[in-house]
Amino acid sequence: MCLGIPGKVVSTYHEHDILMGKVDFSGVSKRVCLEHVPQVVPGDYVLVHVGFALSRIDASEAQLVFDFLERMNQLDELKVPSS
């Protein structure tokens, strides 16, 4: 139940003084409370749990595991000729 889904912020607005937004989940659009990610702008990705954005997704951090895998690949390639 603690799962969060990444979605793309399409637009933002205020409702009862609370920052809200339209967030797109691969074609499905939902109203999401953005009050706790006030820095987001349209185009940013946020992690949404029960209609509430918990954090903004950091694109550079998201890349790290793939960088790690790429380094593993390079190491494997280095090993091949020497073996």
Binding site: M1, C2, F25, C33, Y45, V50, G51, F52, L54, S55
Partner: protein
């Protein structure tokens, strides 16, 4: 293509990480994944079966639906059966068996029980229906505390006197401390709760890692997240380290979400909490602060403690503590199925029993004969097939849809 989801389900990358884990391991290790969402991914993609036999994953109690106490389910039942009440809940809670049946049965008998996507929807329902008492079943871990707190805060701000919450919030750090202190504990490291830490940050896990000498790697929910989490955990175990690491950096900041923590602190205070199948854990929950008593459903509806009785067959308590696995239960897949659950771990899609059942492990158990103490049936060929399919799994089958 779902960004930040599909790329973390790539079968080739998963195999590379599994290989790195195989290279890193020299002896047996037991690692607990804390969250039910992590358990769901592990079982769905057969991640436990691509790991070397020396790495055992045990499933933690991180499913709030599963650990909500029977007393609290019965209180919900009593409140929801009142004629002037519209009772709102996340969908998973409707089928959790209480002493008097579940909320879905109550709905079929005419009570106004509704599934909402968000607690904020329940607030809007109260605004639109001033003659109804709208009660929201505010369950969850720290992840769900900000939206639930926001609902209460907003209801007070909008002067909605007909909105209240039945609060049954639970907290992860006291729970993993209880597991580490329990006699017979086998857990040597944790895959930490990624989404809980988006809210709370990772610092509150540092004293636990130090005191109990356990690595805690805060981990995400996709297959690559879990494999990288296991790799980092195993590297620490093999090196004799015990620190907190953050595998889920794309969503988790060290300090968590300061606005969310502030709102939680404004609305809730820490309390002792009874966990289903586990018992009372001191300071392991949230309750409403006195200032919000007008929105406290327990107080407003005067629901008192009710004598409760669990099924004598169900071993969900031992499963939630990581002492047993679903295969060890004589009722698993027989008397107890998702259609006729005896305990909560068979209800929620994140419960270990429901996850095992959904992905056919009750059939495996029958074919191979359940082995006491070790329900795992490692069939690497089958697993490779599952992982190679991983990148092609349609988004609609994401475990995230089990969310509500």
């Amino acid at each position: 293509m779902m960004k930040y989801v599909d790329e973390y389900r790539d079968g080739e990358a998963a195999r590379k990480l599994a290989e790195a884990i195989r290279r890193a391991v020299t002896r047996p290790w037991t690692i607990m994944e804390v969250c039910g969402g992590q358990t769901h991914t592990i079982v769905k993609y057969g991640i436990d079966e691509v790991l070397p036999a020396d790495v055992e994953l045990v499933h933690g109690p991180g499913c709030p639906v599963c650990v909500t106490s029977l007393e609290m389910i019965d209180r919900a039942h009593v409140i929801a059966s009142r004629p002037n009440v519209t009772f709102c809940s996340f969908g998973d809670m409707l089928r959790v068996p209480g002493s008097r049946g579940d909320l879905l049965q109550l709905k079929s008998q005419g009570s106004d029980v509704r599934v909402v996507y968000s607690p904020l929807d329940a607030v809007n329902l109260a605004a639109a229906n001033p003659n109804r008492q709208v009660v929201f079943f505010a369950i969850g871990f720290e992840t769900t505390a900000p939206p639930n707190a926001m609902a209460v805060w907003l209801a007070r701000k909008r002067r909605l006197k007909n909105f209240s919450v039945l609060v049954s919030h639970v907290l992860v750090p006291p729970m993993i401390t209880a597991i580490l202190q329990a006699p017979g504990n086998r857990v040597q490291a944790f895959l930490g709760p990624g989404h809980v830490c988006t809210v709370m940050g990772i610092t509150e896990y540092e004293p636990i890692a130090r005191r109990y000498r356990v690595p805690i790697v805060v981990t995400g929910f996709e297959p690559l997240d879990l494999l990288e989490g296991v790799l980092r955990t195993v590297q620490q175990l093999e090196a004799g380290q015990a620190v907190v690491e953050n595998q889920y950096g794309r969503a988790v900041r060290r300090e968590g979400n300061p606005q969310s923590k502030q709102l939680i602190d404004d609305v809730f205070e820490v309390c002792d909490r009874k966990w289903r199948g586990v018992g009372l854990i001191p300071k392991s929950g949230f309750k409403l602060r006195y200032e919000y008593r007008d929105h406290d459903a327990e107080r407003l509806f005067e629901v008192e403690s009710i004598q409760t009785q669990e099924s004598p067959l169900c071993i969900s308590g031992q499963i939630l503590k990581g002492l047993k696995k679903p295969h060890d239960c004589p009722a698993f897949g027989k008397q107890c199925t998702p259609q006729t659950p005896l305990g909560a771990t068979m209800v929620s899609s994140e419960g270990a029993c429901a996850a095992y059942h959904a992905y056919g492990r009750h059939l495996q158990a029958r074919q191979n004969g359940a082995r006491a103490g070790d329900g795992e049936t490692r069939r690497p060929g089958e697993v490779r097939q599952q992982l190679s399919l991983a990148s092609g799994v349609p988004v609609s089958s994401s475990p995230a849809e089990g969310c509500q």
